[in-house]
């Protein structure tokens, strides 16, 4: 197991946010994600938003059970976080940026 601090500091985060439509809840999830990334991953992240209402086939690859779901495609291994991303602590844990308490 690598030390989180080393990799977390230099690795690029390729993130994908799966949503269903542009409901306020989905928009809130994106805003939450963006602000967390800006704070903790500034300059080394990308967020791709996939609207499954428009492109339902794109859900298959990652086996999306529910939306909003955020998938960390890079760095590997793939991580998945489910929910509105309003709980920053839990998001950071899900992204392996924080240890689980």
């Amino acid at each position: 197991m690598r030390a989180n601090s080393d990799s977390a500091d230099c690795e690029f985060y390729q993130l994908r946010l799966y949503v269903a439509g542009t409901t306020p809840k989905m928009k809130a999830a994106f805003a939450n994600l963006e602000s967390i990334c800006e704070e903790h991953l500034k300059g080394r992240y990308s967020i791709e938003v996939i609207d499954l209402l428009e492109n339902p086939q794109l859900a298959a690859g990652h086996q999306i059970f529910a939306v909003p779901t955020m998938v960390r495609q890079l760095p590997e291994p793939i991580r998945k976080i489910i929910g509105d991303l309003s709980n920053t602590e839990r998001v950071l844990v899900g992204l392996d940026l924080r240890p689980l308490k």
Binding site: P56, H62, A66, K80, I81, G83, R90, G94
Partner: protein
């Protein structure tokens, strides 16, 4: 962080059992979000097998404890709402999260629908200007819609701080309570529809203390047990409506008062001429109550007819859609009415009826008639004035030769003539006397324009009038019977005017008699009655019908054929008699005859003027004239010679001249005891000559007696009165001349 090796694990029996049976979707995930266990409900939600789910990456639940809403991909496609919860558990020694997924799609939809509907109603309530409210039993406000701010100017918060009672004036609180008790009373009736609100109109305070009018719909509010917990209702601002109502009420009141204050009769009738409404004046004029009039036709009520009055303009008014006027005399009311009809249009501009007004113009008609009578009288007067002028001129012309005819025939009669000749001369003398009388009467009649009253014997005046009509009366075979009371006092009247009255009555009598038969009698009676003298003219003619009698003194009313009479005679006569302070009345026996009676006040002796006719003064024949010289100046040779003859026979020294200039020469030469001088002469008038004499010989001027042909001439009359000069009117008889001269010589 503790690493562990993944392997499918058996759940603890008891926990697994719970999770397994849970109707909500349950899934146990490890820290990486991998599914350790999924229950059948979750499998159903996702449309997968529980077995295939194991090991799949579900995702790390970012929530803990509280719930979060997510969307779940349904097996049928699309997404449904779900509520997600997550708790950390120890799953067979592995730290894990137990995630619950509850499908809330339906609940969500219901919530959504509810929310929408709530929003709709809230919007409705908040946007309508009416105020929705609920109060408890003590009228404390438990809910008030935001529109209260718009209505009252107070925020919902502040409004609710006060009880509803405090927002209403005391009288309105009372009204509200009585409405509430009414509601409660009605509630006891099992048939009463409890959903029907009671409506009450109240005044409501504004924030600034002024008031508005509101209409409140009130319904009771019940608790679970059906007991009344308070009241609910809607209040609407009706101030504008109230104002409009007030204005309407005022307008109606104004209209009603105006309607009843109009002194003309006003009725509103419908298109069938039935009376819908009348004003007080209308009812009063007919002596009826408005109630008894309404519903009847106007012609029934006003004219007492069974069909419209022939001169009614109703059809015209309705047909032409314009105001029409007509005048009529209504015998039932004894009034002249001016009627106006104006169409009354309804909101669609159709004729709904007619406004019918009647103006009582009886007085106006009377005044008009009086004015007409005065105008006619004035016209007659002016006509008579010109006749008078002409008569005066003619009189002068006639009087000069008449003086000679009358004078010399008298002188001849004194001569010793053969009897036959004497008889012939007598005819000349009598004939000329009659001519003298006619001329005198003509002058009297003409002189009426002057309207001077004089004290006279009324019987003589009647005789004079009768004489003017004597020929006609005789040829019509009418016998005139005079019943004069002896010794009647004098009356002060205008002889010309009175003659006109008598003439009218005589002519009317003739007419009535002629209509009845050939010939008849006219009885003229004079009597003394207390302070008056009554003069009656009774004929045995046709008499008059009731209708004629009622209009007898109306101007222009005549029963004569056109051209025979103007219809002014009696009207004028009445005016003249009234002007003299007298009365005129008529007694009629239809078919048998008519009597007109005039009563005139008797003149007090002191008031009586001295008769102007000095010729009629008592004569003093026996006085022997003293020896005196007299100069006679007259351009008319006949008059000059006659005068000289009479005076010379009486023993005077008489000198004559026909020229005024010669008079002055004679006066230069000698003086005279009397000068008889014609007032009208060619070259120099008597007036000028008198002025010259007066200037040169003032003593001599006092001895002048004028001879006049026309005293009716105003300027002559004035001249004589101004200088206080004696005069003698042509034609004169010798006695009159001698009397005049001796009178002068006595002074």
């Amino acid at each position: 962080m503790t690493e562990y090796e993944y392997k499918p694990a058996e759940p603890q029996e008891s926990l697994r059992e719970i999770i397994y049976r849970d109707p909500d979707g349950k899934v146990v995930v490890d820290n990486k979000g991998r599914i350790l266990y999924a229950n059948p409900a979750f499998a159903r939600l996702t449309g997968q097998n529980t077995d295939t789910l194991h090991g799949q990456l579900f995702g790390f639940p970012i929530i803990e404890g509280q719930s979060s809403e997510i969307e779940i991909a349904s097996p049928e496609g699309g997404y449904g709402s779900a509520e997600m919860r997550a708790v950390q558990i120890n799953w067979q020694g592995i730290p894990a999260s137990l995630v619950s997924i509850r499908d809330i799609t339906e609940r969500k939809q219901a919530e959504e629908a509810l929310k929408k509907s709530e929003e709709k109603y809230r919007e409705l309530i908040e946007n309508i200007s009416d105020v929705v409210w609920t109060v408890d039993k003590n009228l404390n406000i438990t809910y008030i819609s935001p529109s209260i701010e718009q209505m009252v100017g107070e925020t919902v918060e502040n409004y609710m701080k006060r009880s509803l009672k405090e927002w209403l004036p005391p009288s309105s609180v009372e009204k509200l309570y009585s409405t509430i008790s009414e509601v409660l009373e009605k509630e006891k009736d099992p048939n009463y529809d409890t959903k029907t609100p009671r409506v009450v109109e109240l005044e409501h305070y504004l924030k600034d203390g002024s008031t508005i009018w509101g209409s409140m719909h009130v319904l009771p509010l019940r608790d679970k047990n059906g007991n009344i917990a308070g009241f609910q209702g809607i209040t609407r601002n009706i101030t504008e409506r109230k104002k409009a109502e007030e204005a309407l009420k005022l307008a109606a009141e104004e209209w009603r008062t105006t309607f009843d204050s109009i002194t003309d009769m006003v009725a509103i009738i419908d298109t069938d001429r039935k009376i819908k409404r009348v004003n007080k004046a209308f009812a009063r004029a007919l002596g009826l109550t408005p109630q008894s009039i309404i519903g009847k036709t106007c012609y029934q009520v006003v004219h007492d007819l069974n069909e419209p009055h022939p001169s009614c303009t109703f059809d015209n008014t309705v047909g032409a859609n314009k105001t029409c006027h007509h005048e009529l005399f209504e015998p039932n009311m004894g009034k002249h009415l001016e009627c106006a009809m104006s169409p009354l249009r309804n909101g669609h501009d159709d004729i709904a009826g007619v406004v019918h007004t009647f103006k009582d113009i009886t007085r106006r008609k009377e005044v008009e008639a009086e004015q007409q009578a005065l105008r006619d009288k004035a016209e007659v007067s002016s006509r008579l004035a010109s006749v008078g002028e002409m008569a005066a001129g003619i009189a002068h012309e006639i009087n000069n030769p008449l003086t000679s005819v009358l004078g010399f025939s008298e002188l001849l009669l004194q001569e010793d003539l053969p009897p036959e000749t004497q008889e012939h001369v007598k005819y000349i003398a009598e004939g000329s006397k009659r001519v003298k009388g006619i001329v005198k009467r003509m002058l009297t009649f003409a002189r009426q324009t002057k309207h001077h009253k004089t004290s006279l014997d009324i019987c003589e005046l009647i005789d004079n009038t009768l004489e003017m009509r004597s020929y006609v009366l005789k040829t019509a075979n009418i016998e005139v019977i005079k019943k004069y009371a002896p010794g009647l006092p004098c009356v002060t009247v205008d002889p010309g005017q009175l003659q006109q009255v008598f003439m009218n009555l005589i002519v009317n009598a003739e007419h009535a008699i002629n209509k009845a038969r050939d010939g008849g009698t006219l009885i003229i009676t004079t009597e003394r009655e207390d302070g008056t003298i009554s003069i009656s003219f009774t004929d045995n003619g046709t008499g008059m019908s009731k209708e004629t009698l009622s209009k007898l003194f109306h101007p222009f009313f005549t029963t004569k054929e056109p051209g025979e009479g103007t219809g002014l005679g009696l009207s004028l006569s009445r005016s003249i008699i009234l002007e003299h302070g007298g009365t005129i009345e008529v007694n009629n026996d239809f078919g048998k005859g008519t009597t007109f009676t005039i009563r005139l006040p008797v003149t007090q002796p002191a008031e009586a003027e001295k008769s102007e006719d000095s010729e009629t003064q008592p004569k003093s024949k026996d006085v022997k004239p003293p020896k005196a010289s007299i100069l006679v100046v007259d351009d008319e040779p006949g008059v000059r010679d006659y005068t000289r003859e009479v005076l010379a026979q009486a023993g005077y020294d008489v000198e004559v001249t026909g020229k005024p200039a010669e008079t002055l020469e004679k006066l230069e030469a000698s003086s005279y005891d009397a000068i008889l001088m014609d007032i009208r002469m060619p070259g120099m008038s008597g007036k000028e000559l008198y002025s010259d004499i007066k200037a040169k010989w003032p003593e001599m001027a006092r001895r002048v007696v004028f001879i006049t042909g026309d005293v009716s001439d105003a300027s002559t009359d004035e001249f004589l009165k101004e200088h206080g000069l004696p005069y003698i009117s042509k034609p004169f008889e010798q006695d009159a001349l001698l009397e005049k001269v001796s009178e002068l010589l006595r002074t």
